[in-house]
Structure formats: structure tokens, C-alpha cells
Amino acid sequence: MNAHSVKRSTSDPTDARVAASPLAQARAARTQRQIVFQRLRANRLALVGAGIVLSLVVMAVVAPVISPHDPVEMVLADQFLPPSRSHPFGTDEFGRDILTRIFYGARISLRVGVVAVGIAGVVGSLVGLCAGYFGKWVDLISQQIIDVMLAFPGLLLALAIIAVLGSSLTNVMIAVGIGSVPSYARLMRGQVLSLKQKEYVEAARAMGAGHWRILSRHILPNAVSPIIVLASLGIASSILSAAALSFIGLGAQPPTPEWGAMLAAGRDYLRDEWWIATFPGIAIALTVFGFNVLGDGLRDALDPKGLE
């Protein structure tokens, strides 16, 4: 029995009898959490990832405080200034400071990542939870829908959704989120299929617990770890997909300081004003790298091997 089920079952009167020794198991749960943190701390690459993600969050929060420039106001006298002390990343074709726009872009990227993953995580987990738990026709129908969604490779599903909804940053978040639903649904379904056979679930059922109680108190808390790992990696891929869609003009529209859209604007000035396209790209790559290595680190740290 793992950490979550122990914690939940001790707070639930119907389950108190199921847990043999709550105190001993609560201690084991604490030790497991410590092991996870120790593993994460020992993984230097994951720490670098955590550092990047943290810096990104700080950058997004304090953008208006640390930047002396406006992200959208045009200053035509400052057009195409190369990197200098007053504009460390130079200025774009409208004289806007690129570093400032990158700071503000962090807000957009984070929001896109979190919202898209939120949509995918919630919808996918619900579908997987119902499919795995109720089985039969619920499973059959949801698996057929997931199979059809998977027939649209990569960004194609997101592109089809944007075709229906129209181009905008909000629609990109929805499209990227829905496009990622199958991964979460598949993962959650697999988790539920194995968890619903566990003794503590059978015991809860034998004691008369209803479907809602079993799902919310016993299955969901135990199935959530791999979903967290997928979500942290999913933020990276969502940011990348959303930037790609903005790059081809289907996402954020000018003058929004979105990194993908900034890159698209810079493509016309590659010959002489290299900085316009270079720095937003580095910002995307660093952000995605940060979430990727943090996600990898989380996956290794939460690996059940050696946790028991």
C-alpha cells in the first residue's frame, strides 16, 4: 500500500479497519517522501531544471518591476538597435526592448503550459478513471475515441481544432490541451486497471463504500504520481507546441510578446538583425529544457523501485 492510500485511509472511518497499523504506515509514508526528496536533491540535472523553472516563475512575476521598458509600446527611434548596455538583447523592428518582451513572454509561456496541461490532465484523467474503473462500454467507447485521436499525429489534431475554433492564444491552449488528452487517459486507465484489483479497494467495496468514495479516496490519490510526472514533461511539450503554433501565425497575435510570435517576426531580419530571432528561441529552448530535466528527475525520484 503506498503513501497516499495510507494517509487517506486513516482519515476515513470506513477504512480505519482496513489499515493494519496506521502509525507504522504513516512513518513509512514519511520515509518514502524523504527518499523522493533525497533522490531529487541528488540529481544535479534535475536541480538545474528546478532552478530554470524557478527563475522563469520569478521572471514572470517581477517582469514589470525589473524592466524599465514597455513590452508593446513602439519607440520608432530605437528600431533595430543591436545588443547594448541599455538593451542587452537589442530592439526589434518597432523599437521594443527584446529582453523586456522575453520577460513578459515568460508569463504567457507559463500560462500556456499550465492551462494546456490542466485541460489535458483533468479531461484525460477523468476519461481514464471512468474507462478503467467502470470498464465495459464506457471503456470501449472511450478507447475508440482515444484511438481516433491518436490517428492524428503530433500537432495535426491541434491544427484541426484551431481550424474549428479560429486563431488565438486561448484557442491554442485549448487545442494543445485537447491534443494531449490521449496520453493522460491511457496512463490513468492503466493505473486504475491495476489499482482496482488491490486489496484495500476490495475491502472498501466490501464495507459498502460507493463508486465515488472508492474513486476519490482510494484510487485517484494512488494513481496521481505518474500523472504528475507526465504533467511536468507535458508543460515542456505544450510550451513548445504553442510557440510553434504562434510561430505559424495561428496563436498569439501582434503585439503580444509571445516567444513563438517574436521569432516569426525576426525571420524577416535574419541577414542583419540576428538578435530578433535568436534570443526568443534561446528562451523557449531553456524553458523547455528546464521542464524536461525536472520532469525526468521527478520520474526517477518517484520510481517505485527502492521506495518500498
Binding site: 492524428f152 503530433g154 491544427l159 515542456a236 510561430f247
Partner: protein
């Protein structure tokens, strides 16, 4: 074996039906009358024009008859006419598809050559700088946005050095930069998978036996370990082709490479629905076909797979 192939073919039927349903309803879900959408950029149609158009598009039929007509027309290769150019959608796609297939095939070759070699080298020289470098490059590879890498490649190899054309399609020189950009990104995933798979294979008893026989290390790696390690890599290739196909959509617009991807992006920007519908349907069906083929090849190549 024949039973397995028949099983896989039958299992693909609901997916194909699902794909046609999804694509059919995609346009029906767009808010507004399809006729108004068609005339969005032109003078509003007269009532006679509207009625004629409705009949021509089959919009006067009940919804299930419309769907059956859509499938029957699509099966005959009739995907309607582009709103923008008034040319048959199939003809538009046919002129661009060879370029996209060429790009996908060339980038697949790049991905396999670089990814598999880097993975084999990393596993063979485990723990050395070669291993560390290939792992680092693989992590960076999945974090770098393809469209940015493409822009940087244009800046360096086309604008500064003048080795390749900046944009366009037609000759092999037009193909080099997009194929490398797309292939390099996929090679990162293949390198990680090949490394893990090679490490497993190198630990196998048959490798120890081959070494004990006094076989040279090069042949041990190439003949004994690599052949077994490639099996999961083949499966991944099926998925990679999907990634490359949809990745081509973005990369083609970076390089102005005249393929289906560039056509799709143009269609999305102008909301040319018949064209979007046709491209989405065709790419999804190609992807389903490729995966079916990979599954069958996989079963033929690996005798350990059960056909039941």
C-alpha cells in the same frame, strides 16, 4: 501470421471510420453557415447562388446522407474544391505531397543515421565523454524548437555562408536544410532509445558468448547486440514518422518549402475548410496506414511476438 495481419486490418477499420467522422464533423462544428464562410472574403452570395451552392455541396441532405456522400466522394478521390483557388483539393494536395514525402523520408534517414549511431556509441562507450556528450545532445535535441533551429540554420548556412538556398523546393539543395533540421530533432529521441536498448542487449548472455568465442568487439556490437537492440527502435520509427509528418507542417513554413504542410498553414490562415479537411483526412489516413505497416513488419521481423 495471416490471422494476425487480418486482425490488425480489422482493428484499423473503426479507427478509419472514426477519422472520417471526426473530419466530417470538423467543418460542421465551425460556427456559422458553411456558405457564409465560403464567401467570407467575397461579396455576399445571392439567394440563388446560395441555393445552388447548398445543392452542390450536399448541404440540403440529412446529416447521415451528407456523411455517406462525403465518404463515397473521398473514396473516389473527390475532396471538394478549395474555397480560395477553386481547384480540386485532391489536385492541390497531389502537386505538393511528393515534396512532403521526400522531406519526411530524407529526415527519417537523417534521424536514423544520427540517432542510431549516437545511441550505439553512447552505449558502447558507456560512462565516457562520448556517452555524456550524446546524452546531453539528446536532452537538448528534445528541448530546442525545430522552427528556431531552422531559422538559425538559414542564418548560418544560407544567409552567411550561401551554401544552400534560403527557401523554396525542387532540388536536392532545397531539401538539405529542412531535412537536417527535422531529422536532428527526431534523432534525439532515437538516440536515447537506442542507447537504452543497446545497454540491455550488451548485457545479454549471447553477447558474452560472442565475446568468449573471441569475436572482435566491433562484430559483437554490430552483429549481435545491435540487431537485437534495433527491434524497439523499429517500433519507435512508426511513431516518429507521424512526428516527422506533422513536424513537416512547421518546418515547411520556416523554409518556404512547397509541401502539404505549407499548403495546410496557408489554408488555416485563410480558413479554406475543404482544403484543411482534405489535408487532415489524408495525413491521418497515411499515418494509420504507416502504423499498420510497421506493426505487421514488426511481427514478421520479431518471431517472439504472439499473433493471438
Amino acid at each position: 501470421m495471416v490471422r494476425y495481419i487480418i486482425y490488425r486490418l480489422v482493428a484499423a477499420v473503426p479507427v478509419v471510420i472514426g477519422v472520417t467522422l471526426a473530419v466530417f464533423f470538423m467543418v460542421r462544428l465551425v460556427p456559422g453557415d458553411p456558405i457564409d464562410i465560403m464567401f467570407a472574403n467575397q461579396a455576399p452570395p445571392t439567394p440563388e447562388q446560395r441555393a445552388a451552392m447548398r445543392r452542390q455541396m450536399g448541404l440540403d441532405l440529412p446529416i447521415h446522407r451528407q456523411y455517406l456522400k462525403f465518404v463515397a466522394d473521398a473514396a473516389r478521390g473527390d475532396l471538394g474544391r478549395s474555397f480560395r483557388t477553386q481547384r480540386p483539393v485532391m489536385q492541390e494536395i497531389k502537386t505538393r505531397l511528393p515534396n512532403t514525402l521526400k522531406l519526411t523520408a530524407a529526415s527519417l534517414v537523417v534521424a536514423v543515421l544520427i540517432g542510431v549511431s549516437a545511441g550505439v556509441a553512447a552505449a558502447t562507450f558507456r560512462g565516457t565523454w562520448i556517452d555524456n556528450a550524446s546524452v546531453a545532445v539528446a536532452i537538448l535535441g528534445v528541448s530546442i524548437p525545430g522552427f528556431w533551429l531552422g531559422l538559425m540554420a538559414i542564418m548560418l548556412f544560407a544567409v552567411k555562408l550561401g551554401w544552400f538556398p534560403v527557401s523554396g523546393a525542387g532540388t536536392w539543395r532545397h531539401l538539405v536544410l529542412p531535412a537536417f533540421t527535422l531529422g536532428l530533432l527526431s534523432s534525439a529521441i532515437l538516440a536515447r532509445l537506442t542507447r537504452a536498448s543497446m545497454l540491455d542487449a550488451l548485457a545479454g548472455d549471447y553477447v558474452r558468448t560472442a565475446r568468449a568465442k573471441g569475436l572482435r568487439e566491433f562484430w559483437v556490437v554490430m552483429r549481435h547486440a545491435l540487431r537485437n537492440a534495433l527491434i524497439p527502435v523499429i517500433t519507435m520509427l512508426g511513431l516518429q514518422i507521424g512526428g516527422l509528418l506533422s513536424g513537416a507542417f512547421i518546418i515547411e513554413s520556416v523554409f518556404g518549402y512547397s509541401g502539404v504542410g505549407l499548403l495546410a498553414v496557408g489554408a488555416l490562415q485563410t480558413r479554406d475548410f475543404p482544403l484543411i479537411q482534405g489535408i487532415v483526412l489524408l495525413v491521418a489516413l497515411i499515418y494509420v496506414g504507416v502504423n499498420l505497416l510497421v506493426d505487421i513488419i514488426y511481427a514478421v521481423v520479431d518471431p517472439r511476438i504472439s499473433y493471438s
